[in-house]
Symmetry: D2
Subunit: 121 residues, 4 copies
């Protein structure tokens, strides 16, 4: 894990952009656009599939989807870096918030309750 974690990715993306003189394109605004464009490529893979079909992709399709997931992760790390946000710390904080916000005993199982709770977010 030492070579592959988010910090290592962050540093490699920095070097990648520097070597290409791409920092000037990587404003947080622009990166947010690039990130959502990648998220949409993910959505495209699933838009005509049923939920059930979306669970059992062919190997080729899964490989394409994995690449989209990677693209999103890359832009996410890059954007967090450009904003000096510690991504894992932000996740940690959010997980704690979510645990308070959606107490298991209150929201269990019901889609309606789930949707309502989500609606607050």
């Amino acid at each position: 894990m030492t070579e592959r974690d988010l910090d290592s990715i962050k540093l490699r993306l920095r070097r990648f952009a520097e070597e290409r003189d791409w920092d000037k394109f990587h404003s947080p605004k622009n990166l947010s656009m690039a990130l959502i464009a990648e998220a949409a490529e993910l959505v495209e893979h699933f838009q005509w599939l049923t939920e059930e079909q979306s669970h059992s992709l062919t190997a080729d399709k899964l490989d394409e989807v994995a690449q989209e997931l990677a693209d999103i992760q890359i832009y996410l790390v890059r954007l967090a870096d450009r904003l000096n946000v510690d991504l894992l710390q932000a996740v940690e904080k959010k997980l704690e918030l979510n645990a308070e916000k959606y107490p298991a005993e209150k929201v269990r199982g019901s889609s309606k309750k789930y949707t309502e709770y989500q609606g607050d977010s």
Copy 2:
């Protein structure tokens, strides 16, 4: 890092969903929708700012943005898990592909070249 890495997040999200009986909502199709909805909340923060302004957010705004980044990371990990995709391995592979695809000496600095190269993706 041992307690905070992506694998740990994955396991906590699994438990979180199980305790709430939410697995049934977490089809890859649905999760791709939730992910792009979070990406859009990020975009919303930046849509009326100039690129320059997007670099220097107020502390409050930055805190909100960090929460959106966390939400995206959370859904990304969850979606990868539901598809049995190793997210870090996918990133590794993508970084290698990008290094081949955008050789520094060929794409350096020019926005035009950058856009064209991006356009291939």
Copy 3:
């Protein structure tokens, strides 16, 4: 229909922006971000529903969804105007292209074929 068509909306949006001195925020880049943010609010309404549920919304929910549709239409007209694109003419052209691209006899019924054909686009 004379008072409510897209041209009339275009003119009203122009006046609306002028009266508020908002033209400076309405670059095509920014408007594309605003548009996708609205599209995501639409997606959010459907993300935890089954396809079947998405056909039969409650009256309240439908009203909210109608507002999102309106927001998208508004930004779409505004963006087309800022780019001097004739939206209806563009649609006309696209419908003709689609008729050629997806001949009924070839793509009928099969989800697989549908997806493949979509994949070309």
Copy 4:
């Protein structure tokens, strides 16, 4: 205008889907995904451009952008039809709401005020 307005487009899209037996794919949920995927293709055209550059696209680029706008319009009309929403009536209502919500004399010119007001929405 008689042949090209939104009602005419709606009817043509209905026939198009029927002839191809595609109604079964056109749940509101799926159409919301298709719509945001098209919105993202629009965003992609602008993501590495400055706001200024986004105002003055080349003819080729503008043609591509016009096609994305058309795709969004097409899915928007189709989705409204599947939900039995009168799109123009919804726009009418929204424009009236916006006029109340953003009184010209209060929000004029200031980006800060603009953003705050938008933030309410």
